[in-house]
């Protein structure tokens, strides 16, 4: 009798532990996740860490590194099969190691996981795929944008409804006439931040980025036209624009010295509405990004390393980090662009960001990533820098770029991404 009672007692005592084990199937597992040290994505993760550990029993380690170090860490970790990171933060920059990522389709299907993602962001390109399978899920979204001064446009009787760069240039001509005699430039762009110039080129160029043989390439005539058009934008910029950094260009707009600015809108959104930092509060809006090219996309994805020893626990972290509520919170508190449509349809936010949201969502839906590995990107923006400052002509710039690109190989994952986004030459 005593024994039976003891057994019952033990069973009763073990019940909560059993229930706990059922609720926390990965308790005790360790997950290492990395983020860019930006004061945004990494801080957002740190804020969630205690709640995640308590809810899942998983021990989470967050490694935050500056962009360049993050890319180096990810590529060396995956190329060598070290498996230091279970959850990897990245995008096309690490396309050369996408073949080492774990497919996520089965996990997504198993858990019926999803959300109101912006449609364009879930397609191959903005989202990372390899061999037809999803390997990455976007947790942020920012597209290159164009913002303008609503008060100046109203005074000048110009509407910001352009669809092409030619139409935008017509608006710039009208602005130039309207602003004659003032110290306000029709446009400002951070031409001194050379790595930013490809973003304008991509907006003006609608040719291929990879040729039919799978090599980095450009459609010569379309590239020449886009490059020349890009350089002509300098005529509408303030003096010394070729040395403007991102912060300096933003400052030109925020101090009211430019009527339009081409930029990462997320870099300037909060400051533009801050009376202590801006003279254009409530007098600016986001415009459609002109075509025929596309707005350059920055959409960080979370991946699970193929070398992770705890892929299921890693998946738990991804589900915990990428939620509609968290994306909205990160947008409001940290300025991180949300990949969820619900953020942009939130009544409270719409009221506050009516000048920004509609065109921003439209830009995000059209935005594309590029199939460039870092070396390809660097070759392009450095040669473009030479062209912008007038050190070489457009033909030499293209010739030099193609010569340097010829030594690079396009990774398989990025070839597939280029094909899916229509960036490959038809062969």
């Amino acid at each position: 009798m005593k024994k039976a009672l003891l057994l019952v007692l033990i069973v009763i005592l073990l019940l909560p532990a059993g229930a706990l084990a059922q609720d926390m199937p990965h308790a005790g597992a360790e997950v290492v996740t990395n983020f860019m040290q930006s004061g945004t994505y990494d801080i957002g993760a740190e804020q969630l860490e205690p709640g995640f550990e308590e809810a899942t029993g998983i021990e989470l380690e967050i490694v935050a590194s500056p962009f360049v170090v993050l890319v180096q860490n990810n590529i060396t970790d995956l190329s060598t099969g070290t498996g230091e990171f279970d959850v990897i933060s990245g995008d096309f920059w690490i396309g050369s190691v996408w073949n080492h990522m774990q497919p996520l389709d089965d996990l997504i299907e198993r858990d019926m996981w999803g959300g109101s993602f912006i449609e364009g962001l879930m397609k191959q390109g903005p989202s990372a795929f390899f061999d037809g399978k999803r390997i990455g899920i976007p947790y942020s979204a920012d597209a290159y944008g164009l913002i303008y001064r609503t008060d100046i446009f109203e005074e000048a009787g110009i509407s910001a409804d352009w669809e092409t760069w030619d139409e935008f240039f017509e608006a710039l001509d009208a602005l130039e006439m309207h602003l004659e005699g003032s110290d306000i430039a029709p446009n400002v762009f951070a031409f001194g931040a050379y790595e930013q110039t490809p973003a304008i080129f991509l907006g003006m160029y609608d040719g291929y980025l990879v040729d039919a043989e799978g090599n980095y390439a450009l459609d010569h005539d379309k590239a020449v036209a886009a490059l020349n058009q890009m350089k002509s934008l300098l005529d509408y910029n303030p003096e010394g624009a070729t040395s403007l950094s991102i912060d300096e260009a933003n400052s030109v707009f925020l101090t009211g010295k430019a009527a339009t600015m081409i930029c990462w809108v997320s870099f300037v959104r909060a400051a533009a509405q801050d009376p202590d930092a801006s003279l254009v509060v409530d007098n600016w809006a986001t415009a459609p990004f002109p075509g025929p090219g596309f707005p350059f996309l920055s959409a960080w994805n979370l991946f699970i390393s193929g070398f992770s020893e705890n892929p299921d626990a890693a998946w738990e972290w991804i589900k915990y980090y990428i939620t509609e509520e968290e994306a909205k919170r990160r947008f409001v508190e940290l300025g991180v662009g949300s990949p969820f449509l619900s953020t942009y349809e939130d009544a409270e936010l719409i009221e506050k960001y009516s000048h920004d949201f509609p065109n921003m969502v439209a830009n995000l839906n059209r935005a594309e990533s590029v199939p460039w590995i870092f070396a390809a990107f660097e070759i392009f923006f450095r040669h473009m820098g030479e062209f912008v400052i007038g050190a070489v002509d457009v033909e030499t710039m293209l010739e030099n770029t193609l010569a340097d690109w010829s030594e690079l190989e396009v990774p398989e994952g990025l070839l597939q991404s280029a094909a899916a986004q229509g960036q490959m030459q038809e062969g």
């Binding site: 590995i373 040669h383 030479e386 400052i389 050190a391």
Partner: protein, 305 residues
């Protein structure tokens, strides 16, 4: 005979000491030798091995195979590599000329042990203790063509400042200025110490002989300072050639490839493109270039001054 016995005895004592000490010598020398091999020779040997291999980390986890001197030939034929070498020569040459001249002048101007001179010397060495990345950022702000202090000061005297960071030539000048600003104090410190060690009787003899201050400097002090000056030159040359962080934060190697130095090139090749074979070959070419330059300096040092 006695002498021979004494010699034999001394020799056998010496042999006994040698035999007795040998294990101890080995015990103390071997660890140090192994550490030197591990931290110096192994990386060198491994990079020499890599320099003749075809290996891009993102394409293969291990080297793809022996390619002989192909990596070296490819680098020597590469326009960007050649331009990087040229930029390194311009920047290092310009910075060294300015640093040595200014350092020597400042050392003479601030000679003495009064509190004023000591205070001035302390102020002058401050740039040396600033982290190169911070110094680069600071100068990026100062050289901003629209709102920077440098162009503002130039405008006060009626000079329109150049586009420091947007013009290929002025960007090189900017890097030279930054390096000079930050490292002239090093030359100042070394030369100040060297001047203090020049025997005063030599200076007195020169004065008695009626030598002017300039001639005393040229024929008495400079020959005495020369070995140290050349050593300083070597230190500064290596440091300047290896400089990456300050250029990274000041110009990012641009505009275009205008301030892309050899170190920057190797860094990009190795840690951004992960082309370890080419990066190792470039590093060896860099080492040969630096060794030849240092060799020339040492050759000068061996001459009678």
């Amino acid at each position: 005979m006695a002498s021979s016995v004494a010699t034999k005895s001394s020799s056998s004592t010496s042999n006994w000491h040698r035999r007795h000490d040998l294990p101890w010598l080995v015990a103390f020398v071997i660890p140090a030798f192994l550490i030197v091999v591990a931290v110096q020779f192994y990386p060198l040997a491994y990079s020499a091995y890599l320099s003749v291999q075809d290996w891009v980390l993102t394409e293969s986890q291990t080297p793809k195979g022996f390619v002989g001197l192909q990596n070296f030939a490819a680098e020597l034929a590469d326009d960007t590599f050649r331009r990087s070498v040229r930029n390194s020569v311009y920047i290092t040459g310009g910075a060294l000329a300015l640093q040595m001249t200014l350092g020597i002048c400042l050392a003479y101007l601030t000679m003495g042990s009064s509190w004023r001179m000591r205070a001035i010397r302390t102020l002058l060495i401050l740039p040396m203790v600033i982290a190169p990345v911070a110094a680069g950022t600071l100068w990026r702000i100062l050289l901003n063509s629209r709102a920077g202090l440098v162009n503002h000061l130039l405008s006060l005297i009626g000079v329109k400042g150049p586009e420091w960071l947007a013009s290929p030539d002025w960007a090189i000048v900017s890097v030279v200025l930054l390096d000079t600003w930050q490292w002239t104090p090093f030359v100042l410190l070394v030369v100040s110490a060297a001047i203090a060690s020049v025997p005063s009787d030599l200076l007195e003899v020169a004065a008695i002989d009626g030598a002017s201050r300039w001639k005393t400097f040229l024929y008495v002090e400079l020959p005495l300072l020369m070995p140290l000056l050349l050593l300083t030159l070597v230190f500064r040359m290596l440091e300047s050639l290896l400089s990456l962080d300050s250029i990274y934060s000041l110009t990012f190697g641009g505009p275009g490839y205008s301030t892309y130095t050899l170190t920057y090139y190797i860094y990009t090749l190795g840690l951004r493109s992960f082309n370890f074979g080419a990066a190792a070959a470039s590093s060896w070419l860099f080492m040969i270039f630096a060794s030849v330059s240092i060799g020339v300096v040492f050759w000068f040092q061996r001459r009678e001054w």
